[in-house]
Symmetry: D4
Subunit: 154 residues, 8 copies
């Protein structure tokens, strides 16, 4: 059994930002797949992805979207897996629209939200969450933190 | 054939605001039904409502929701009927979260958004839209405008 | 009888954005004409346009404007046709000024507001609204949605 | 010849705030009349008021409105008299909607905007503007400033 | 081995809101303890809590704070456990200060942020995260979702 | 006797924007002089300018400033002439800081505020205000409006 | 020689908030006097206060003001003493206007800004600044911090 | 004994902005050292720096950070020296996140906040604060102000 993250994003134009999430997941040795799935343009596919995620071996979902960013919330409503939301800046409002659309979820269906365009942090958060189930990740997180520390102090 | 509007709202606590929409629809003589359907807590029911709306004789949907207000967008993604979104103030951010979550829809799936807590205006907008198909509504809109005018000038 | 949309914008500098609305309307086969009409600099012409819109065969008006974007509201006050407002980013405030000026209409005179710079979505919304009167549009909307879906999933 | 200010407000519910403007104008001995005129619900009357203002002896117009506050701009587009705009708080967004709708006027048709709910300051500004034509007002402004000063220092 | 959540909050005045988190955790049968620990007034104690959390059997930390809400970030910098941040409204800015201070974490040290005053959702999110390690929680989450659904539809 | 406007700006870096105000004033044939005077770095000179403005034949002052834009308010506190404030975008907050610092004046000392970077509109507003005293300006304003109208409609 | 702080506030209505600053200063044994001085309504007195502050034995100035809060900046422009600014909530914008008007000072004339309505923190900051000159204050700050710590942990 | 300022910044990418602070400190002849220390990635080092600052002869700390800018607050919680916070723009929200994270400190642990990206003003403020202990700085501040004044008036 190995950790696996499903990464989805609402638009092809967001792929470049979300690929940074996958790169960091790869550094942790966490299996991942990146898909474009729109809450609004492919609601059936987004729903199916979320409904089947647990069965297909996914432990956790990262969803990035811009503007009225509904993707993370829509996915979260269809799975009991933890969902990390990445608000993406697109358009003119600096990502504030995506941030509020992602983080202000109503009671019952939370989305674990990271910073605007925080694709990398979504991967770090995923690693921390997955370390509960896959304790071997803890050492990798410590290692990554030491690298960061060395980099800051150098 | 008569005009019919489906009014949905994301939470029982929003019923009071959205009932104002129904009252105005009633004044226009537009048939309507108000349902509580949450994009996040009852995604299947919300989807079914939207998918079946046209067949069940609904011409137009009004969806009110607060916070990360996904309801209008989720409904809009499942129907080709026009969807009017009413951002509702709930919580601490003055309704700005609901406004941006409702209006900033990505290309392809629009939501016709009215003001924060603008449940009445959703009904007026519905009447104007429905007047394209039901021309008898035009006279009622004119009448309502004259009443407003008299009220302002009195 | 065929569907017809009047598209107006407050400034020549906004033509480029609003032409995208006309392009999408053309894809739907919806007749349209784009005019520059300023609520403030040509109030008589803007009023005349709105007052005469229904008689000249227009079914629906799309109005795009930036800054203190009054155009959609001014037009809406002079017609019972549905009016879609497109807040345009111009100047330094990211379009938030145009968004609030367009969407926060007082009771009685609604404007169906789409996203900041959402000219394309104004056209999609117009198609959905017009499909009530011109049912042949429904198939075209479905087709466009299928194209979007294919594009996302490809 | 004596100074005269036309005070208009978009809704009866705003009368209480705008009456403070009239009270201050009265203290300056500036003739004034307060009317409810809505840019959206009584566009013809608002237009007629603005068009006829100069002929009816009005020197300056004060317009207060809330939400998507178009009244000052609509009036300003129909007269060459100076127009002072008072953004009024109404609804949930703290008056930011009315402020941006009033102050962010496009080039050519300015509105002299004061603070949110700044009805009193509109009157003080009116007195300063009118003092150019009616120099006797200058002494009254000085007197009012001395009173303020004494009040602060007491 | 049983799931355990450490709940910390920056001020006694926030206890009432954060107790709702503990109530929901209790409903899930998740062990929890609520402590007042300020990032600024008790930095040593907050650090010690975070450093020792894993050893003391804590699986996950929930941190609620208002204004310049640093608590979640400070705790996150000292542990590799997942940290959920709850921005609390306190003061005049509607909780926007706490939201941005909590969610906009720099790369490397993420905080899983929920809505302003979203103490209940922090508990739901905790349950979802903990279900990776404690699979028996999944059934309880499903049960809670069914209850919510029934409640919405009733 | 001829109309004269004093234009001041808080920084040399703002001269380029404020020169547009002078250009429009020149088109109206309104005498003007542009000075750099900082409320904070040259408080004595700014005060002296305001105190002596009326005596030196100035009818009206236009003050442009960015960030915590105090210049218009500081000048307004020292003269009974009308003061038009132009909030200037400089720095990272889109001019919102300058807008609020200029428009939100406390009771008693108003500043007639125009849009962010609205230097041209400050000149148009100045012309409208000065037309009360110099009626020959009215024809020029009408002419300018006709030019604008032709430009929009061409 | 003993430490002395001049506390000024722009309006009598703000006295209640600013008295909290004096109470905390008293706890530190720091001499202080609280005056109402308006940047706009009593500019001469505000200027005189700032110009004479150093000579009258004042070490540091705390200035609280609301709306377009110019008082701290105006005082800072007239003295080389450190000036702490307290943005006060008054009116409808949550204190954001006062915050930006106080903190966004242009290069050369800084204001040490604390939180909205942060009158107490202004006193704590004053004590820390004064401890450079009056080292005996350091022990009192430590004592106050210990009290805070005990209070949090109790 | 000579004045000494410790300047810290949360990320190498912020060094360029914060070096401007050191340049101005150098102009005042104030000894300073610039270090990269992250509140989140190097919490131990940031804590040690703050704890030891007074002993190592530092009189005052300037801390610059972006996004959820915790550095100034974290440092302030560990020292009784005055701490000046410089909110840095980084990312998409115009620095508003860093401003609120820095200025909205809770009661007891203040941060003297300057404008977004106000690194220079942090140095000017430092000089004013240090002039309490090192009176020879007053003349240099006066000199710098005279230079600024000449520069504005030239």
């Amino acid at each position: 059994m190995e950790p696996k993250v499903g990464v989805v994003t609402g638009s092809k134009s967001d792929l470049k930002v979300m690929e940074k999430c996958c790169e960091v997941l790869n550094q942790y040795g966490i299996k991942n797949e990146l898909k474009v799935l729109s809450a609004h343009r492919t609601p059936d596919e987004a729903t199916a992805f979320a409904v089947n995620a647990r069965e297909s071996g996914i432990d956790l979902i990262v969803a990035g979207a811009g503007m009225a960013a509904h993707l993370a919330g829509v996915v979260a409503s269809r799975t009991t897996l933890p969902v990390i939301g990445v608000p993406l800046k697109s358009g003119d409002l600096g990502g504030m629209d995506a941030l509020l659309s992602t983080v202000q979820m109503p009671p019952g269906i939370p989305v674990a939200t990271v910073a605007v365009d925080g694709a990398k942090n979504a991967a770090h958060l995923a690693a921390q969450i997955l370390s509960l189930k896959y304790p071997e990740l803890e050492a990798k997180i410590m290692e990554q933190r030491n690298d960061m520390k060395k980099n800051v102090l150098s």
